[in-house]
């Protein structure tokens, strides 16, 4: 009976101890600063190599999922129309030729994030975490479990009225966009 009591006292401690190695760990990735899309560009592409990130390297082997993810920074729209910012992802280091090519072949990761004409807007952690797309998140997780190299694309979408006053989505040559102090914060799930 004494042995059983002793075991019963120790087991919760062991139970607590074994699970301390699992959990949620933040990995923050510095993006190019600033990310700029001029009026004559249709997108901005950045190849991200996670293998240069110490936090990622230390958790890569026990990574099992993404618990939370956010794109932080301040989006500045210097154009005359409201704009939606989107981020797309492709699972390698190749770059597509234009925004239409990106939309056709890559995967939407984040957005839309609306920024008013001639104004700036900060993407907060809470707000940004709700804008992630599950398909893009899956691609990101696959890459994090794989070689850790992928390409992120910043795109803008602007609706304007054409000559027939029909709203048309326009993705280039209209407004200038920049994202300052951009950070990708990925909270990964680690296992024991």
């Amino acid at each position: 009976m004494k042995a059983l009591r002793f075991a019963a006292l120790l087991l919760p401690v062991a139970l607590a101890g074994c699970i301390l190695s699992t959990g949620q760990f933040n990995i923050d990735v510095d993006l190019d600063d600033p990310i700029s899309i001029d009026s004559d560009q249709s997108y901005y592409a950045e190849v991200v190599d996670m293998n240069t990130n110490e936090d990622y390297v230390s958790h890569k082997d026990d990574l099992v999922g993404i618990a939370d993810i956010a794109l932080l920074g301040t989006a500045v729209n210097t154009g005359p129309a409201d704009i939606d910012v989107e981020v797309w992802i492709s699972p390698d280091a190749s770059k597509y030729s234009d925004a239409d090519d990106v939309r056709e072949n890559a995967y939407k990761l984040w957005g839309p994030f609306a920024v008013g004409a001639d104004s700036e807007r900060r993407a907060t952690w809470d707000e940004s975490a709700a804008l992630f797309n599950s398909t893009g998140k899956f691609v990101l997780l696959t890459e994090l479990k794989g070689d850790g190299v992928f390409t992120m694309y910043a795109l803008r979408t602007t609706e304007y009225l054409d000559a027939k006053t029909v709203p048309v989505a326009k993705t280039d040559g209209f407004a200038e966009l920049s994202l300052n102090e951009g950070k990708l914060v990925i909270t990964i799930e680690g296992k024991d």
Binding site: L4, P12, L15, I19, G23, A70, E181, K191, D192
Partner: protein, 185 residues
């Protein structure tokens, strides 16, 4: 998580084994209101301690094995982190948990007691960006005294919510105030 599940099952077996050799006691039950702090463990996106309040219903089984349905609600607190471009805030995770514990030693008894316990329950984790409900496992230790019909207990426990291949974990420290009931049957 597989190791944790195994330890949980072993804990249950040890408690049941202990109960089988224990002497029978009068049946009694109680009701305990408790409150305390809920401390996230290894959660970089949910670091701040919150508060938790709930009810427990300890029941003597006539053996050394105690049985205790419970429910509690925890409120996560907003956290702040700086990733290099100024402070960023993230809302905490609210936790609602209900289930049952099995203890080694009666939780309803006169005098002083120390009782280890393990339990299993349903846990709902809520954030504005989403909500999930998952099975969780808990274990800990209760220190209690019972002056008269009252019960006062201090409890430390760990709650591990199984979210797939990983887990979300909280430590809970709570103070409970209860009342012992001896039915006339």
């Amino acid at each position: 998580m597989r190791l944790c599940r195994l330890l949980f099952i072993v804990s249950i077996l040890v408690l049941v084994g202990a109960a089988s050799v224990a002497q029978a006691q009068d049946e009694r039950f109680g009701i305990v209101v408790h409150g305390g702090t809920m401390i996230p463990v290894s959660q970089d996106d949910n670091e701040e301690s919150g508060t938790a309040f709930g009810l427990r219903f300890p029941i003597n089984t006539g053996t050394f094995l105690g049985f205790e349905p419970y429910i509690y609600m925890g409120s996560g607190k907003e956290m702040t982190a700086d990733f290099g471009s100024g402070p960023e805030t993230r809302e905490g995770i609210d936790l609602t948990s209900w289930g049952a514990n099995i203890s080694l030693g009666r939780l309803v008894r006169p005098g002083f007691h120390i009782a280890p316990f393990v339990g299993i329950g349903n846990n709902t984790l809520h954030r504005e960006s989403g909500e999930i409900s998952k099975i969780g496992y808990n274990g800990g230790l209760e220190l209690g005294i019972a002056p008269g019909k009252m019960m006062i207990n201090l409890r430390g426990e760990m709650n591990v919510v199984d979210i797939g291949e990983s887990s979300r974990k909280w430590g809970l420290i709570s103070l409970g105030l209860g009342y012992r009931v001896t039915p006339n049957f």
